[in-house]
Structures are given as C-alpha cells and as structure tokens.
C-alpha cells in the first residue's frame, strides 16, 4: 500500500504547491467566477425563467459547478507541463506505480476544485438562500466526485497532447458547451427539442442536476423535473469509472 501512497502523496502535494505559489492563478480562480456570477445574474435576471427562484440564486450552484469544472480540468495542464519540462520522465523511470500518477492528478485537481468552490460559497449570504448543513455537506461530496471525474477527462486528453495551447483550445471547445448545456445556466425545460436531446446526452447535465438537488435541499428552491437521483448517480459513477480506467490503461501502456 505504501508503494502507491507515498508517490501519490508526493505528486499530489507538488501540484498543490504549484497552485498556491502562483498568486495570479489563485486570484484568477476566485475572482473570475465572482465576476461571471454578478454579470450573468444581473443581465439575465428578467430573461430566464428559473422556476420561480431568483436567477442569481438559481445560477449560484451552476457557477460553483463551473468553478469545479474548469479548476479540475485545467489542473491537468500540469501533465503536459511535466512532460515538457522533463519532470515526468523521472517519475516514469522511478518505482512509483503508474496508478499513482493518475490518482495524484485526480486528487490534486479535486482539491483545487474544492478549495475554489468552497471559497466561492462565502458569497452564499448574498443570494438570500438559506441552505441546510446536510445540503452543503452533500454538495461538497458531489463536488469532490465531480472533481475526480472531470480531472479524469482532463488527464485523458492532456496525456496524449504535447501543447498547452492545443489543450486550452480543445478543452474550451468541449467545456463551454458542456457547461452551458448542463442545466446550470438555464433549465432544460422549454428548450427546443433538438437542444433537449443534446442536453440529455451531456453527462454533465446529470451531475449538475444531482448537485442542484443537493444544494437546494431544504432551501425552498425546488429543482423540478430532470433525471432521477438514481439515474444521475448511475451516469456519474459510470463516467468516473470509464475515465479512471481508461486513464490508468493509457498510463500503463506508455
């Protein structure tokens, strides 16, 4: 067990040190979602039907999901940087199990995503929402799962790429539509039928719905419709396993 724990710890802590020591990254990570939330909630306040809830409050968990999504996925840029800087070759020739590379990146991405999300939650009092502790706890648990899953997606793509610019381009192409069509930005009910099909094919829709249900539990805001909790959990778990196992195979093969 130690054979995988210590290398995983080593690579995980190293990624966190990088994050904390890059002041601009920390400021951007906290500041950007705040600005997006303020402007979007002000701009779309009267345009979007958020099921009777205040749009700023409806959007709040969606912004948290956005934070987790971007933080988790973009943390895996470190895979490309590690390869380019030569650091990865030292890890690959060490006795560290290959699985420790996957675990450490997933844990680092999740930790960064959770840190940023929790910091953003400080703004909760400004939404007028009163959440239950149970809801907050469940939300953090789902965010952790989201971090692990999406870091897996980022890892899978970054492992095969050599350019950070290329990674940015591909991930933005993938992530922004995924987030917009996740139900975080607007409820899927009432959208065009073709858009509804795409939304239902988007795995992030199931994760976001699950998160919204946990987040709003006991707050008075109801998340009507959408997939059941059981279906959401099943999609979530299947996606995590698929990404984790594929990442593991990829790393072991190289």
């Amino acid at each position: 067990m130690t054979a995988i724990l210590l290398p995983t710890y080593s690579l995980w802590i190293r990624d966190l040190k990088h994050f904390i020591r890059q002041r601009s990254r920390v400021i951007g990570a906290v500041g950007q979602p705040f600005v997006i939330w303020i402007f979007l909630s002000a701009g779309f306040k009267n345009s979007v039907n958020a099921g009777g809830a205040d749009y700023g409050a409806y959007l709040f968990p969606g912004i948290i999901m956005l934070i987790a999504l971007f933080a988790a996925i973009f943390s895996t840029i470190s895979v490309i940087e590690d390869r380019k800087s030569g650091f990865l070759q030292g890890v690959l020739t060490s006795p560290a199990p290959r699985a420790s590379i996957v675990w450490s990146k997933m844990l680092a991405g999740t930790t960064i995503a959770l840190l940023q999300s929790v910091v953003f939650m400080v703004l909760l009092p400004f939404t007028g929402l009163s959440l239950s502790w149970e809801g907050i706890g469940l939300s953090i648990l789902i965010l952790a799962g989201t971090g692990m899953t999406l870091t897996g997606l980022g890892f899978l793509i970054s492992w095969s790429m050599s350019s950070t610019q290329g990674f940015h381009a591909i991930m933005n192409l993938l992530l922004i539509p995924m987030w917009i069509l996740s139900g975080a930005f607007f409820p899927p009910e009432g959208t065009a039928s073709w858009l509804g099909v795409i939304i239902h094919l988007n795995p992030l829709y199931y994760i976001t719905t699950l998160f919204q249900k946990a987040f709003f539990a006991g707050s008075g805001v109801s998340v009507a419709g959408g997939p059941s909790v059981a279906v959401s959990i099943a999609v979530f778990a299947a996606l995590f396993l698929l990404l984790f196992i594929t990442s593991l195979r990829l790393v072991r093969k190289s």
């Binding site: 080593s10 690579l11 990088h18 020591r21 800087s85 030292g90 006795p95």
Partner: protein, 309 residues
C-alpha cells in the same frame, strides 16, 4: 556488473516501416567504473539508454545487474533534459523524488558526503530556477544518487554546460562512482570526456564496434600524432610512405594524420614551405581519430549533420 547480452531492438513505424536500432549488442560494465557509450546520432545509444532505464521494453536479449534484472529501485537516472521541478527548491526536489521511491526524507537525513561533493550545502533552500546550469546538473545527480542506486545511467548529461562545468561535473561523477562502487553508464558524444572514462563502448549503426579502455583503443596511434592540412594529400601520403615507416590516415578531405610520430620526424620528410601545405600540427591522438580509422568517417561530423537536420 552490468551485463548487456545480445540485445536487439527494432522500431516499427506506421505503414509497416521498420528500423533496426540495435543489432546483437553485448558488453559488460564493471562496478566502480565509468563506462562511456559513444557513437554518432542514430547509432543506437539512446535506444540502449531507454532499454536500460526501462522506458522501452526488451524485444530480444537480456540486461542484468549482478545476475538480476536491474529494477527501477536499483537504478539512478540522469536525463539529457533535466527532470527537475524548477519551481521547487533543491530540497523539495530531493524530498519529492525520495517519496517516489517510498522514502520520507528530512533535511537532516540527507547524506552529508553527497552534498559536500556536489557542493549543494547552503543551496538546499534555493529555487532550482535560480541555479546555474552546472548546479542544476548537480541537483539532478544528487537526485539520482539519493536513493542509493547500484546502477547509474546518464544520457548526455553535459548538454548545455560550459567546459569548466562539464569537467567539474565529470570529476564528481568519477569520484562518486569509485567511492560508492557504482556501475556507471555514461551515454555521450563528448569524446574528450569519454577519453577520461574507465572504458569506452563505441557504437556504429546499432552494433558495438569497440569495447576497450581508452588507452588501449589509442595505443595503435602512439603517444603523439601529426596532422597535416592542405591540398594534394594523396601525393604527400605516397611520398611519406615511400621514404619512412610512418603510417598515414586521411581524417578529412583536407587533413592527413600521421600515426606515432613527432613534428621533428615529419619535417625531415615534408617541406613546410610547400604551398600545398596549409598547416602542420602535433597533438595527442583522440577517440575521433580511432573512430575515423575504424569507420572511414568522422563521428563529430555525423553528430553535427544530424543536429543540423
């Protein structure tokens, strides 16, 4: 002892093309010695490095260290491009590296002798990015030695170092190899360094064409050689052969090397005022001379051509 036993390796490219990088390579490297692996680019050195470090799977033959497979735990590696985290301090690099080998490390546990030899005492809290290229190489070596490997493999570790830093690094390498009884395999195209190694394994087109102590490789050239640069050197070589027992060798289109002789002896046969002669120089023989004698072409030319491409 590291035993490389009849290894061959073929790269299979897309569209069915195959390149044989190594073809039946065998040699031994002893404990306490630095064994240089030299040869032009494309001669199979890097493939050998990747096979020994486990970055490539063995297709044929065997690699053993004292009769056993040299697993990664017994191996220290220094790569051509640094494997350091430049944003971390020297100690943090060592700390994280030790964790990969399943060891928790405190500053007080760092081997004092190693830090002394590498002159890293007092630099442990410096960010790697702030160190010179020479010291970054030393950190790299410290990392490789920290886990007390039995086999140390280095791939072109002098890349980017000036002559002084290169010599200092090599001296440290020789010292730790002898002091720790390491088996050190140094892949390089720095012939001046290879000459100072305990043994030289010379690669050409995926095969070993020589495996000797540097002195033995150069014994045929004598203590000194004379190099004449100019034109119409075939005529000159014929005249030298007719009037003396000096053996000559063309080492370039415009250069003729005369083995085992002195400038004084040569000037008794050759008129230095001859307009076809541009320059006459007496020097010690080099591994480059040996390589040309064996293969008919220059090792450094091959390196230069490939680097330019």
């Amino acid at each position: 002892m590291l035993t490389i036993d009849n290894i061959s390796h073929t790269y299979h490219r897309r569209k069915g093309a195959a390149t044989r990088a190594l073809d039946g390579v065998s040699f031994d490297a002893a404990h306490g010695e630095v064994t240089a692996v030299i040869g032009p680019n494309g001669s199979g050195k890097s493939t050998l490095f990747r096979l020994v470090t486990g970055a490539l799977h063995l297709q044929q033959g065997g690699i053993q260290l004292d009769g056993q497979h040299p697993g990664s735990a017994r191996l220290g590696v220094v790569f051509q491009s640094p494997a350091l985290d430049r944003q971390l301090t020297v100690f943090e690099n060592l700390y994280h590296h030790a964790l990969l080998y399943g060891r928790r490390l405190k500053k007080a546990q760092l081997p004092a002798e190693l830090l002394d030899v590498l002159e890293l005492n007092g630099r442990l809290d410096s960010k790697v990015d702030e160190l010179s290229g020479g010291f970054q190489r030393r950190v790299e070596l410290a990392k490789a030695l920290l886990t007390e490997p039995e086999l140390l493999v280095l791939d072109e570790p002098f890349t980017g170092l000036d002559i002084n830093a290169r010599d200092a690094f090599f001296s440290v390498l020789q010292h730790v190899t002898a002091a720790r009884g390491l088996t050190t395999l140094l892949v390089t195209h720095e012939l001046s360094v290879a000459t100072r190694c305990d043994r030289v394994v010379l690669f050409e087109e995926g095969t070993v064409i020589a495996n000797e102590r540097p002195g033995a490789l150069l014994s045929d050239f004598g203590r000194m050689v004379v190099v004449i640069r100019g034109e119409d050197l075939d005529t000159l070589a014929a005249r030298i052969a007719a009037s003396s027992d000096i053996v000559s060798l063309r080492i370039a289109d415009d250069a003729l090397l005369l083995k085992n002789t002195t400038l004084q002896d040569v000037l008794m046969i050759v008129d230095e005022r001859d307009s076809r002669i541009h320059d006459i120089e007496a020097r010690r023989p080099t591994l480059e001379d040996y390589f040309i004698a064996r293969t008919g072409h220059a090792l450094q030319d091959a390196v230069g051509e490939l680097e330019a491409a």
